[in-house]
Symmetry: C2
Subunit: 282 residues, 2 copies
């Protein structure tokens, strides 16, 4: 498995594969791989001939004061894990390769990026949609795989790909969790032991909410209130948002109806964690 640093070399590899009729599966990441990422590689391996993983900590999607500098990086460990998971090529460009001097072009998905993480992290989704557009143009995948853990990101990218007529499928794969329910995230490494223990409240509150919905609850205010109170029972938890929205427009809904995203962001100390579930009620 090769690690490629520059765009021209990656393009050559992809063109060669295309010329021999191969399909391309793509998993874009910021690296520091965990089993969530690896599950995306496994999924890509099932359906595509050439599997490309990108590792790029994208400065454009971090706000001022966020953790761009501290974001964990370990290319060597990532490469070993990716190879084991069936990855063929790692694309790990430098910042300069992606954003040369004088860079000026940006992609925005409106409305869907106004709420949830878009409200807490202004400019974040512009960074995501811009870098993923670039990566899609470089890698030209048939299928791109994203984790549901970053649900808003995945829904925004699916919308972007449709709106801009990108000729590929955006696939959203289930969140992979620790045994105690905590959603896998590279940022979990920031947590102190005490924060780590209390952080299980996130998935617990979501699963309990799901149970309530299964038992007939449809009032989103009541569900939001329940999740909020459950999380606030942990003294180190600091809620950023708890939101219930539809999966098309990411707009708040008053009652649970159709495909609905229940998403939350909570800070433990300096660490901001997100989690969500998607429920379907007909």
């Amino acid at each position: 498995m090769q690690i490629i640093r520059d765009i021209a070399t990656l393009r050559r590899h992809v063109k060669q594969a295309r010329e021999s009729g191969k399909t391309v599966g793509f998993v874009p990441t910021m690296g520091y791989l965990h089993p969530g990422h690896l599950s995306l590689l496994h999924k890509a391996r099932e359906k595509n001939d050439l599997i490309i993983l990108s590792i790029f900590v994208n400065p454009l999607q971090f706000g001022a004061g966020e953790d761009y500098e501290e974001y964990p990086r370990d290319l060597e460990a990532d490469a070993a894990q990716a190879k084991e998971a069936g990855c063929d090529l790692i694309f790990a460009p430098t910042v300069k390769e992606m954003y040369p001097q004088g860079y000026a072009t940006f992609v925005d998905v409106e409305r869907l990026t106004d709420s949830l993480c878009g409200a807490s992290r202004p400019g974040h989704f512009r960074g995501v949609t811009t870098v993923v557009t670039k990566l899609f143009n470089i890698v030209t995948p048939d299928r791109a795989y994203f984790g549901q853990k970053d649900a808003q990101q995945a829904l925004v990218l699916r919308k972007m790909a449709r709106d801009l007529n990108m000729d590929l499928q955006v696939l959203i794969m289930p969140t992979i969790r620790e045994k105690d329910g905590l959603a896998m995230s590279s940022r979990n490494t920031y947590l102190s032991p005490e924060e780590r223990t209390q952080a299980t409240v996130l998935s617990r509150s979501l699963f309990q909410a799901e149970e309530k919905i299964k038992n007939g609850e449809r009032d989103t205010n009541k569900i939001t209130e329940f999740i909020t109170q459950t999380i606030q029972s942990e003294p180190l938890a600091n809620i950023d948002y708890v939101a219930i929205v539809d999966t098309d427009e990411i707009k708040p809904t008053e009652t649970i109806n159709g495909q609905t995203l229940i998403a939350l962001a909570v800070r433990f100390g300096k660490t901001r964690l997100i989690d969500n579930i998607i429920v379907e009620v007909s």
Copy 2:
């Protein structure tokens, strides 16, 4: 030559061509073809196997109160001329096909779109860059051809394609002019006979400025002043802007140095005309 209305059919044609190893040349237009457009088709014909012309009056690039409704349209005449010029396929989608309900994604090139036509027509270039991104993703050309008459548009699109790593060449072709020097434009049909006569002052002022530069003039203030006065000698001319900028960043320059764009926009009654020259001084 076929006229295709929907994206899926166009994609099928392109894929078929690609599979037999053909290259694709693309000329995006708003239709109402004139010899300027046809020169782009001829140029495309020289280097590519499959020539696609798009005709789409893009509502997104027209501001409120601009001429979206009145913009001239004549698909039948366009098809005849395009066929004659060697075009293989016309892609003429509906507005609904390009911007279905709920459309939300936009592409922006910053800085280069702040001045000249970008200042006079807020949102115009966002409309252009968004629709051209979509068209590029649908047509997947090897080479796309634009006229220098819309110089800022062409420079912005070239920048966009580079920044977003679109795997194609943006080629900028010389402006085609009437015998008396007026740059060909679909909007010339709006002009009254008197306006049409006076409109020759645009190219005349640019050519005279070019002559001054050849004779050693380097002061952009003096050249701007000369062009302005020349145009103001025509009573029906109403200057929107006269600007001298570099072709990379489209930023005003104090002296002519390197590749420089001299661009202007002038109203005759309700009709807004643009013209420009590019000079190279080392």
